[in-house]
Symmetry: C2
Subunit: 404 residues, 2 copies
């Protein structure tokens, strides 16, 4: 293991790595895992890396497990980075890609965080955790917890999509709904952590989930032959994936595997819940709680993210931006991806296409740039976003000729 | 390309490969793709094979495309072969594995058939196809067709699971429901093929889908280091996967990459639709139409499979068997896989665990044997199979202490 310590993302206080820490005891900010990159720079060969089994554990030197054999795995894969040639040409992009996280176990990128987070929790001897969720993270953590033999208590909003509920239940998690938002679920979890000794598995309140999400950045770099794209668009709720991708790039740069120039990172939010966009427009270092948050892209309905300042820092440092898109544009983009590229993506993923189109229109993205859309999950988990009212035939009856 | 010809699976009549053929013109049986395996034996190195990109196209010498670049891809992966250590130990298996096809694009193994079938259709210049489906195959073909720019007309039973309907619709397919079974959908498609010039993409009525399914067998062999398992259990509706796996093994044997001893292949069906089981029990070469077919495992509700004689032949030749399981055992097995292994599988996949348990109990499977369960898809597409009725909390309210 190459972990040297944990470090507060705000005040820099350090912590020893081999016991559970949640937020910084000094200032309450998230902790980040630090590695001995100088030592790794001498010993790790990136050409050998690509010959390892095709899953996120190939990056184990940059992951926090003491022993790679402690990995709790549900069969993670390297998710595809797909060229969207036809759609790109139609829209005026010459090099548009989509990283399809829908192929993870459970159908979303949340599995990456859960794979690493639950594996490390198990290695640390944790027996139970509690977490608030908009659905998919809870489902992923519940399933990995089942595999690990750890108890999971999950709290999600009552109007979250129903499929992740079923995943939590069938995995044997203790599941509760709350008549409110993920912020209300978070308060309930905080009380459980104080009163009943659960580990707090909330976004960024344990330092390992981000390490799992980081592998998206490692994969994108590897899949593009260590030539980074110009722009990466990421649907931003809690923002851990964006923070993770940025952390991955910094680590790769310290390893000397990539150059100095980073992609411009774009935080995509829905107009109905856009606290990061507002803060970015105002040039602020942190966001404010977004009142009456509501969007079809439920996974990014996060009114105030604990890691907002890290997201904004990544946007400022990479000369990126933050963009809000409407639910109507999200649904239109979802349909466009399916009809022209055969990809049924989740609304959050579709939001990145909507944002890319608007940034191309304003000239912020140039047609010749290499652009990566990050689709965080499969549309299968959001069947309610598709209207399907096919005609019903009697046996023996034929559809009309022609059509389409 | 190493394809030499197409060959009738029943009467042996041969056809030239580079134009569309459906069933054998002489006897009406399915056609199989034949390769110049003698030539490949000299030129193909299996150790180099494993270094190629981790998707089914690594096997392109054993696939029917003239040009590998013609592949229509949605980002296929090599699906994981997971050791079920904890569940296996609990049940008395020492080496139980699950091949998880839920990680394919669209969440099911149907993507393999669609990837190869649609790619070859496009290479042959096909502009439109029609197909009957129980849902998932239609969804997969609709999405690959969208990517390929081919028109898809899909007919499925009105009581098929709803999620694949949405996939067909968002992909822009022409979708019809029929108030009946897949056999009724098949009759409607047959009339369209005759009257309106559609390619018939029904199971086994075009020779290429099976080539895609075959890659499951290639992957299992490769993932086990070319040491085949003792038993493979496969949920059997149309049976193309089982026929494909058997075909893969025969081809690998001719290449000299595996030994003479094949795994015993097991066709798993539901008690509510078990024509292959009945035929196998009676020692027959073909099945009879199963009246009033009904099971929760909708994907294997196929009352009479066109390739039944090929499935039965594979069972007889490998000293395999056919087993029917109840819907109650399917649901119980689905829950067991989730709670102990963190895997949310489809009912069809769960049926293979139910069957394995019953075959272990009768002694047909011995505890020390290497057993592979083939899970054909993710449980995400069958949310109705999970009961989830979590308690609802008010904001600020806490769940009770203790209890799981």
């Amino acid at each position: 293991m190459f972990v040297t310590h944990l470090e507060c993302s705000r005040c820099g206080v350090t912590y020893e790595p081999e016991r559970l820490h949640q937020l910084c005891a000094a200032c309450g900010a998230p902790l980040l895992v630090r590695y001995d990159l100088a030592k790794l720079r001498g010993s790790l060969n990136k050409d050998r890396w690509v010959q390892r089994p095709a899953n996120l554990w190939r990056y184990h030197e940059l992951l926090p497990l003491r022993e790679p054999e402690h990995a709790v795995s549900l069969g993670e894969v390297i998710t595809p980075l797909l060229p969207l040639t036809r759609l790109g040409n139609a829209l005026g992009f010459s090099r548009l890609f989509l990283k399809d996280e829908g192929l993870n176990p459970g159908g979303t990128f949340k599995s990456r965080g859960a794979a690493v987070g639950v594996s490390k929790a198990k290695e640390l001897g944790i027996q139970k955790f509690a977490m608030p969720t908009n659905g998919n993270a809870g489902a992923a953590w519940a399933l990995y917890a089942a595999k690990a033999g750890i108890e999971a208590l999950i709290v999600m909003p009552a109007d979250a999509p129903v499929i992740p509920r079923g995943e939590c239940s069938i995995a044997g998690a203790r599941l509760y709904l709350v008549d409110g938002l993920i912020s209300d679920a978070g308060k309930i979890v905080a009380s459980l952590v104080n009163d009943q000794g659960f580990m707090d598995a909330s976004t960024l309140k344990e330092p390992y989930r981000i390490e799992g999400k980081k592998t998206m950045g490692l994969e994108i770099a590897e899949q593009l032959g260590w030539e980074l794209p110009d722009v990466i668009l990421y649907p931003t709720g809690g923002g851990v994936g964006l923070i993770g991708i940025y952390k991955a790039l910094i680590e790769l740069r310290e390893l000397g595997w990539i150059g100095e120039k980073f992609p411009r990172l774009v935080a995509v939010q829905a107009e109905g819940c856009a606290p990061i966009v507002k803060a970015w427009q105002e040039g602020k270092a942190a966001s404010e709680f977004w009142e009456n948050a509501k969007t079809i892209a439920f996974g990014i309905t996060v009114p105030k993210a604990l890691g907002d300042f890290l997201v904004l820092d990544a946007l400022y440092k990479t000369a990126g931006c933050a963009v809000a898109v409407s639910d109507a544009d999200i649904i239109a983009s979802q349909g466009q991806l399916a009809r022209t590229e055969g990809l049924f993506v989740c609304p959050e993923g579709a939001a990145t296409l909507a944002a890319a189109k608007s940034l191309l229109a304003t000239g912020w993205i140039r047609p010749e740039e290499r652009v990566v859309l990050l689709n965080t999950g499969t549309g299968l988990k959001y069947p309610e976003t598709v209207r399907s009212t096919p005609p019903v035939l009697a046996p023996g009856e034929s559809p009309p000729a022609g059509g389409k």
